[in-house]
Amino acid sequence: MTSLPKRPSAKKLGLVIDLDTCVGCHACVVNCKEWNTGGYPAPLTDQNPYGKDVSGAWLNRVHTFEAGEGAEGRTIHFPKSCLHCEEPLCVTVCPTGASYKRDEDGIVLVDEDRCMGCGLCAWACPYGAREMDMGVGVMKKCTLCIDRIYNENLEEVDRVPACVSTCPASARHFGDLGDPNSAVSRLVAERGGYDLMPEQGYKPTNKYLPPRPRRDASTAGAKPEALDEASPEGGFLGWVDRLLSAV
């Protein structure tokens, strides 16, 4: 089972994350936790959640980076979850067959009834997308909300991952990156979407859209419309001005 599909699936479900619009509110992080601790298949536990050394398994995390120096520096909020790679070493190293990549849509999953909690797959993921659930004793990772996206009991608009549905800035997009005509693929093409750490050779499915270039002087420096004069000469307002000044 931990052998990869013979040839990559035609359908490649994944996320496209817009680093230009993400405001770093962590709403996706919270909704991910909320959905995945209540749904399929076991709770996503925390240890000591109200105490001093809080710890727990989360499937999506938002880092905040600074890039560049001084006035040219930018602050970028950077959400990160499993990228559902095409060459996932996390899958092939798994000794029990718990980790697998689905033939039909490329989603990488963990069968929690087989995982023995050895942690080797987390070592094999360059992106830090797998976290051990210390309460359940098995490895957890993003499922791309497999229990939402195919769930016919949900309204069609809700058949997207929880993080996508909750993002207030529309910085997260879900779709088939294997289809060059899908909305997500077009977005990637238009905005120059890219892979994280391509040099590691995992061929991630998820793509990141770079921050748009900063507006240059010609657009950022345009003059605002002039305001009305505070002490107008003549006319009705001039008369009121003179009258009030005299009082």
Binding site: M1, T2, S3, L4, L19, V29, V54, S55, G56, A57, W58, V62, H63, T64, F65, E66, A67, E69, E72, G73, R74, T75, I76, K80, L89, V91, T92, V93, C94, P95, T96, G97, A98, R114, C115, M116, G117, C118, G119, A122, W123, A124, C125, P126, Y127, G128, E131, M132, M134, G137, Y194, D195, L196, M197, P198, E199, Q200, G201, P210, P211
Partner: protein, 315 residues
């Protein structure tokens, strides 16, 4: 990488056990060791105890050890699974070999075939252990062509010192075994020094810029971590305590693992049998201590690319 003590103990002990088994499986049939039943029993028992003890301790770091039975299923893709399968098969074959040696004092013919097969299996097991680490691309210090040879050589070196100790205690010692032991021990540490050189000079292809893809904006720095307390990833992969003592610890490992035991084995040649036996056993213990430190460093010096997302500059 965080050094898990159960894994360090496991690789050291089972490495020594399988190394000893490999030597017994080859040297027994070649009649280079006493065919005597008590010698066979003691040496093979020691090999089994080290190998099984190590394998059992490796289950201590599992979070759901009851499911370890599934770990034999994925030998098509996983080196950890292959290690499990190889170790069990090796023990079964070695069991047959042991029956010949212990019950019939026979190591020739079919018994010899079993011995040689067990030796091959033992080497394959250790090879798989090394491969588990060597395939992990995100950890540059492990994804290195010398990792597997180092594992194999240390298994043979620790196996050899234990063999030398058993020969010294039960058969009055053997200069040939002692000399062979010194050669593999030196070979193992020599390869380790070459490995240390390689990892000191190497560089990870990944940087915070490639990890975020934001390099075109300039140097990338972590401004805010995603969480206030350490998480599993940082506990498991962000270990840095030993790094500042690396150079000293390498010398300490070499001192206990190479200098002291070689001196003890040489001294044993000049001493009467009883004292020589004590020296040989001490040598085996010192090599093991040196290898435990070496293994600990193997973890502590290794860096995972995930730390790039948590503010490290080099992966």
């Amino acid at each position: 990488m965080h050094p898990a003590y159960s894994v360090i103990f496991f690789t050291t002990a089972s490495g020594a056990g399988f190394g000893l088994l490999a030597l017994l499986g080859v040297l027994g049939p070649l009649r280079l060791l006493p065919a005597d039943r008590w010698f066979g029993l003691s040496a093979l028992f020691l090999a089994f105890a080290l190998a099984v003890g190590g394998l059992l301790s490796s289950t201590l770091h599992l979070k759901s050890p009851a499911r370890a039975r599934f770990a034999f299923s994925q030998w098509r893709s996983s080196w950890l699974s292959r290690e499990g399968v190889a170790s069990i098969a090796t023990m079964a074959i070695a069991g047959v070999f042991a029956i010949g040696w212990v019950f019939f004092e026979a190591t020739a013919g079919w018994w010899a075939a079993a011995g040689l097969l067990a030796a091959l299996g033992a080497l394959l097991t250790v090879f798989s252990t090394g491969k588990i680490y060597a395939v992990l691309k995100p950890i540059r210090q492990w994804h290195d062509p010398l990792v597997v040879p180092v594992y194999l050589l240390f298994a043979l070196a620790t196996g050899a010192v234990w063999l030398d100790a058993v020969v010294a205690v039960l058969a009055g010692g053997s200069v040939a075994v002692g000399l062979g032991t010194i050669i593999v021990v030196i070979g193992a540490w020599g390869t380790k020094v070459a490995y240390w050189k390689r990892i000191d000079q190497g560089r990870s292809p990944s940087t915070p810029e490639s990890a975020t893809g934001l390099g075109s904006l300039g140097q990338v720095r972590l401004l805010m971590a995603p969480h206030t307390e350490e998480n599993y990833l940082q506990r498991e992969m962000g270990y840095r305590v030993a790094r500042k003592h690396t150079a000293k610890l390498r010398v300490v490992a070499g001192f206990f693992g190479l200098a002291v035991p070689v001196f003890l084995i040489l001294a044993g040649w000049l001493l009467p049998t009883g004292a020589a036996a004590v020296c040989a056993v001490l040598a085996a213990l010192f090599v093991s201590l040196g290898v435990v430190i070496e293994r600990w460093l193997f973890f502590a010096e290794a860096r995972h690319t995930v730390t790039l997302y948590y503010g490290d500059r080099v992966g």
